[in-house]
Subunit: 652 residues, 2 copies
Amino acid sequence: MSKIDEMVVKTLRVLSVEQITRASSGHPGIALGAAPIIHVLYSRILKSTANKPKWFNRDRFILGAGHGSALLYSLLHIAGYGLKIDDLKNFRQLHSRTPGHPEMDLTEGVDASSGPLGQGIPEAIGMAIAEEHLASRFNKEDYKLIDHYTYVLCGDGDLQEGLTQEAMSLAGHLALKKVIVLYDSNDIQLDGEVCFANTEDVSKKYSSMNWNYLLVKNGNNMEEIVEAINEAKKSDKPTIIEIKTTIGYGSSMAGTSKVHGKPLGKEEVVLMRKDLGGEEFTVNKDVYDFYDGVRLKGQALYNDWLEVCDNYQEKYPEDFNLYTKMINDDFAIDFNKEIVDFPKDYFKSTRVSGGEILNDINKIHWGMIGGSADLTSSTMAKGADGNFCKENRLGRNINFGVREHAMAAISNGIALHGGLRPFCSGFFVFSDYMKPAIRLSALMKLPVIYIFTHDTVAVGEDGPSHEPVEQLTMLRSIPHLNVIRPADAIETKEAWEIAYNTKNRPTVLVLTRQNVPMVRTKFSDLTSLGAYVISKEKNRIDKIIIATGSEVSLAIEVQKILLAKGFDSRVVSMPSVNLFEAQKDSYKEEVLPSAIKARYAIEMGEASHLYKYLGLEGKLFNISQFGLSGKAGEVIADLGFTPEKIAKRILE
Amino acid sequence: MSKIDEMVVKTLRVLSVEQITRASSGHPGIALGAAPIIHVLYSRILKSTANKPKWFNRDRFILGAGHGSALLYSLLHIAGYGLKIDDLKNFRQLHSRTPGHPEMDLTEGVDASSGPLGQGIPEAIGMAIAEEHLASRFNKEDYKLIDHYTYVLCGDGDLQEGLTQEAMSLAGHLALKKVIVLYDSNDIQLDGEVCFANTEDVSKKYSSMNWNYLLVKNGNNMEEIVEAINEAKKSDKPTIIEIKTTIGYGSSMAGTSKVHGKPLGKEEVVLMRKDLGGEEFTVNKDVYDFYDGVRLKGQALYNDWLEVCDNYQEKYPEDFNLYTKMINDDFAIDFNKEIVDFPKDYFKSTRVSGGEILNDINKIHWGMIGGSADLTSSTMAKGADGNFCKENRLGRNINFGVREHAMAAISNGIALHGGLRPFCSGFFVFSDYMKPAIRLSALMKLPVIYIFTHDTVAVGEDGPSHEPVEQLTMLRSIPHLNVIRPADAIETKEAWEIAYNTKNRPTVLVLTRQNVPMVRTKFSDLTSLGAYVISKEKNRIDKIIIATGSEVSLAIEVQKILLAKGFDSRVVSMPSVNLFEAQKDSYKEEVLPSAIKARYAIEMGEASHLYKYLGLEGKLFNISQFGLSGKAGEVIADLGFTPEKIAKRILE
């Protein structure tokens, strides 16, 4: 490496600690330690250009160790990605483009919001699945539309996380050779030396999981890093490169856990700058010039690719047309006409009707890809075209294995990549295992579709450990997330239409294990209102009964009993609290007239979100204990969810 | 092995499928495949006796693959653990003692409720930590009070789960040589062959993680299993024994995924019984007699141990006294006198006051043990006596590494073992990673103490990925769980007192990152009421303002502004929704008089549980979006949480 490389690395280090010390907040440890890795990556390795940060065929990069944000921002600044010096000065300040951890919607050049440990590697693996699939679908001998690597920089913490282990096990199995993990191995974590908590044989562990393991002994030796990455590209396995670095390199706290998250003192930052020269927050012109060259080199690669696209389009117009549709997620479906219809006497679970709908969607949308955590035969959520595997990259069913958390994070990665539309599936109670990744789907506004089945204590025999109670509440409370629990096959189809057409946030579909009767006759857009009157009062409203999912038919039975006793009630189906909340006040008032204080809600779950609609005089029929093992009907009855029992309690 | 062994194994198989087929529900695959393992374990290996199922020094056994419950129940029946034939006939029926997955409070001889995959191995590892610690503390050259193994039977699914990987990595590091994992390796999972989803080199993987790996090639060869377990006991590492079995052995669906969870037909069960002889649901007297011998052998070991106890007590009375206190969790603390006092002008975060309180508790309660997922310096929750490690088994601080989920599951294991009182700690937002294990703490009624800090968007600079919003709602919705969010150091001390004295359920303490002023002056029992009037109205109530945690001081400021504008309000501090719900109606009415409809609640989180107290006319000041990166004060103000802004919105 040349002198300019040394200067760039110094600049990255100094700019980073200047940001952190100015903000009095941030993580100098990784910024100082991993600067050479980031520089090598952006200058020698990544196929990308600041001119086209969203280039579809660019190499992807995820800063798994998102607390290294200052380093990334320093690089994005000098590489011309649009971050200005003023942005660096505003590091970690309110409404800045340089938040504490990278956020993809705030900062150009950030491929994934990161920070929660363990999520970056699975996301990268999701990206690599998308790349392999799209490459197999579109690439020709003569023209390659899709051909890129996915890199992720991670630390010790990432690798200790279970979901990373799940994802790496799967990636090795799938031989996703275009994932390259750069492991910033500095032997230190927050509570002290790594060896206080972890003494694995790293090489042996990842080799056993079908990964290619490489070691860079000196993370300040940039040639060594370049060589390792070039070596990695020759492997037919995913690669992890362990790069030995020094946390907080060059600072007085180097090599200690103190420097992980504690800003350096001002004097020390001044001292580090002294060696480099220039004023605080300045960059030598040579550095900018060097990265101008990098940018132009990337632009040239981009231009070459445009030419490939042109030639491809000419020679393979149909394929190119499909490619365009896929990268734009442009497969409009007329759900009324193109998706399975359900007869009035249809009496199956919503997992079954949901599965039928998905099968139809799979036929139309070539980019639908997904699977379940070893529960496909139960959740009925299966991808088309066989299993995605080493031998069949065109398979759109992913056998995730019993790896729920990685499944969700990998789905995020597929969505981040673009070109494919991911779904994933499991038992509703085990959405718990996926919560951190579902939260990130929402935070990153990714259109992942989550299909959860076996949605209440009606799971029955499997008992409390398998019966969801509080999961609806958990998911309803996540911001930017559609949660829809349909009542019958028609609401399920409407829910699927919403999920399918929602491109700016994830959607969770909550489906039954048990058969449910039809409560609707005609497909429309009622579910999109979140709540609507499904069974009107006869004359004037005495009471309102709100119900969701499988409890809607129960509520209608209750309504009949009440009517026979002389009470006129209205039943409101509320498949989605968040969609109802998004309606106008006038519509809400229409559905739930405020004059009516006798309000009831029925949901076989913890259901606390429904209190909002009940008032102090209302009553919630919910479940606030764990479930029971027994025949579904008996469990439900034991917990009080029969029309007679509820009607009786209302009349008391 | 003798003929009787063959007969026992056949009996276990037939009894199990009889249960499953009668219930038309259950998992024959593992019951048929793993019967020899269970028989070998209970007859040749386990130091235990049906006469004393809770013997403190017994070997522990966790059926990680809890869906194998029928097999366990068959064994517990013939081994004399109290399950009758009628119980087996009621398999998976409502209110039976033989639920779908093992439940420790329903069935004698079940050491842990199991079923959710991945939890069993970490729990076993927690048990082994407890065993090592107690053995180090109490055993003498001449007398060993604590000296037992912990076994867990797991399947492929368990090992694919990330939390298992986290826990095994830690167990290898800690050299917990008394954990023996029996891996029922049958090459099949629900969605097909294991090799569709996983192709690791098992031996190499676990060796790399400092485990001893052994292989039993034929899981029907009981000698081979015994030999492997005896071999395992010689190792100074934890051992995983991969035992090759055939799923659904002996049935027409053997070796296929169909037999995993599908009952056999009645004819087939009759056919299997034919070979064994006898009527349906009967057991040959020889089998009972054999297990009578096992029970008596166990009783003899128990008697030996009682003698050891007697001698120990005589020779080491003080140690024995401490031992008795520890296994009974009998360390009464007068929190008023023995735990740190906080002056009126104390102005620190509740994580800091919480840490001070824990340090005092650690000095008194010798069984307090715990740590954090690499965040001890941030959460201030540290165990005493140094790090628990290979060289210091008396250390009561556990360096869990960045392994949140395993941390929680291991804590469950420690609690299950008894003799120690576990706590664990992390950032509140990352309670998400631990949700499945927290749910199990609650389901098993284990007194684990969870200490979560950095409880709101006041985290500040780290931004939305690190700022909890919906986590309080998530945890409040779990049944049987104390969730307490104290307002200041005194409420924190009261919260700790509740956590400490609650032995029949877990408690979550939700603490601040930022400093908070004192809103109380005198330690008492107010927090145990869940909610109470912290700042009275001046004359008569116009409005009620409910607040929790750090928002209580904010609410008091709002109250002052309102008073200056002529509105008389009452401020209610509500540290715990679940504790308030447990109060009498009369007390609730006293605190929140139903006549007052102008109700407000302030909580910097999603806060939907508070709607219950607001009514249709009330107003919730909450956060229903993700947080922001910036200085804490600015983030809070930007989201509207200043006294002026809230007072203004109330007055509108």
